[in-house]
Amino acid sequence: MVMIDVLVPKEVEDALAQKGISADMCKKLVYEAEDKKIKLINKATGENLTKKIMDNITLYVIYAPAAPGTHPVTAYVIKKVYSHRMRMKNLVYTVPEEVKDWWCAKDDCQTVRGQFDLEYMGIVRMAPTLTCPKCQDSYIEEDIAAKPVAVAEQLFEKKRA
């Protein structure tokens, strides 16, 4: 385990509380991401994106060095946390020429646009992802989780209720 601090600003902590997610869980996610390099890095903004698939949700944490430009990084600050309930099932295809700003830390390569099958309440539908062309690890971006995926979850719950 690397020795780093993870700071959770008050507004992020409040947002986490509303979702029923603990700050400690998010910190642990950052420690794991740094330890195992399971994350995407945006080299333009310095932000990192990691995720963890749990029982009922997939949790994403966007975090960045607390003091940008200093090496080695000794502290990170969590900037945003989001989640979705649709379960990531399988990668359907990628568009190799559509290269994105986010890099896979493990494979040190740029991600490309992917389309992933997500499953919820027995219904399978696709959504766009950031996907590593080598390890195929895939991430749903915040705006996709917040709108198309969230709306799908609500509709499926309503219609399957």
């Binding site: 646009r113 696709m126 766009p128 709108k147 198309p148 995926v149 509709l155």
Partner: protein, 387 residues
């Protein structure tokens, strides 16, 4: 003198039957369940028929073509009534092609039989003009500054006030390639794809950027918008597949990703009008959300086969199998019924749902007997539970 509506807008709601009636509520409840079926895998009733009705809804009900395009309040109320009349979709809609082009200096006008068409000089006369093409921000597209947004928001505000149960905010991208061609002149633009590709891309970039901001603006106001994205002039008759990808598909992807990031969607409706016999495989890789429908008009001179549509797209999105819109004007109801039956049998068990529709907008002079024939085929062959 400007065109005056057949019925003054303030009198319009009183000409229609209130949606508070029990008969309407009963129909609407059933229609909503049927409409949602393909998107949630809860198959009830039958497959829907969507004739992509536009001005025909007005002319059939005693209004005019210009009422539809110049008075969107009339358009949406007529579409809503038409949909209930033929037991179609539980939503009203308003859209037209050539959106946002007035912002680029193109003059548009309607006629007694045509939608908003380009008239007069084209604003982009040479490739150097493309270097100066503006990109419009949300602020530039507010209704007081943009006729396209003004017309669409009038439709949605009217729906909200008068027929809220059938309200459907939409953003019509139309076909970026077709609209770029209107700015230059269609023949010239098609030649430019070979001789001046950079100029073409600059125009297409601007249109995608402006349209994405329009989608975002409408979503800001109404919470969401169904986005209709077309490839109409960019088809296999006009361009080789490589060019369809470069000048239509790639810019559509750019638009969709920008628009989703700006809050547009989440429903995406891909409308591939015309012949896509050579380029259809490209469209398998469109950006999809969980609510995505694809619709392809023709395979050569024939309607795009429902079984091919199911095979290529059925595991990725909801498919809209088609009957020939050109034949919807004829007094040949058995032809429409048999073609609907054939397409339904080929596509009805598509894994992510199926809808029946026409190859493009049903014509202004559609024969109502043909609409009924397609609905009857849906009732007879688009039912669930016996496959």
């Amino acid at each position: 003198m400007s065109y005056q509506p057949t019925v003054p807008i303030d009198k319009l709601p009183s000409r229609f039957i209130s949606h508070d009636t029990e008969s309407h509520k009963k129909w609407h409840t059933g229609s909503v369940t049927r409409f949602a079926s393909p998107f949630v895998d809860v198959f009830k009733d039958r497959i829907d028929f969507d004739p992509i009705v536009m001005a025909h809804a007005c002319t059939l009900l005693g209004f005019t073509n210009r009422d539809f395009y110049e008075y969107p309040e009339i358009a949406v109320h007529c579409v809503a009534y038409f949909n209930e009349l033929f037991d179609l979709l539980p939503v009203a809609h308003f859209f037209y092609s050539n959106v946002f082009l007035e912002k680029y200096g193109l003059k548009l006008q309607t006629t007694n039989t045509l939608p908003w068409i380009a008239v007069g000089d084209r604003p982009i006369k040479n490739p150097e003009d493309a270097d100066k093409i503006p990109k419009f921000e949300k602020e530039d597209l507010k209704p007081e500054k943009c006729k396209t947004i003004e017309l669409h928001w009038r439709a949605f505000d009217y729906e909200k006030a008068n027929i809220p149960d059938m309200m459907l905010p939409m953003h019509n991208v139309f076909c970026l390639f077709s609209m770029a061609a209107e700015l230059v002149g269609p023949e010239k633009f098609i030649i430019w794809t070979r001789k001046e590709p950079k100029a073409c891309h600059k125009i297409l970039d601007s249109l995608a950027y402006t349209s994405a901001n329009g989608a975002s603006l409408t979503a800001d106001r109404y919470g969401f918008d169904m986005m209709v994205i077309g490839s109409v002039l960019a088809n296999s008759t006009v361009l080789p597949p490589k060019y369809v990808k470069e000048f239509s598909f790639d810019h559509q992807r750019d638009f969709v990703r920008r628009a989703l990031a700006g809050g547009g969607g989440p429903q995406l409706w891909y409308h591939l009008c015309g012949d896509h016999s050579r380029d259809y495989p490209i469209w398998r890789d469109v950006i999809t959300t969980p609510f995505t429908v694809i619709h392809i008009g023709y395979y050569g001179d024939d309607v795009f086969p429902g079984d091919l549509l199911k095979k290529e797209f059925g595991n990725r999105m909801t498919v809209l199998a088609v009957i020939d819109g050109k034949r919807m004007i004829e007094p040949n109801f058995s032809f429409i019924y048999e073609q609907s039956k054939s397409q339904l049998l080929k596509a009805r068990d598509s894994p992510r749902g199926c809808i029946l529709g026409t190859t493009c907008e049903t014509p202004l002079i559609t024969n109502p007997g043909c609409t009924l024939a397609a609905v009857k085929a849906c009732k007879d062959y688009g039912t669930y539970g016996t496959w």
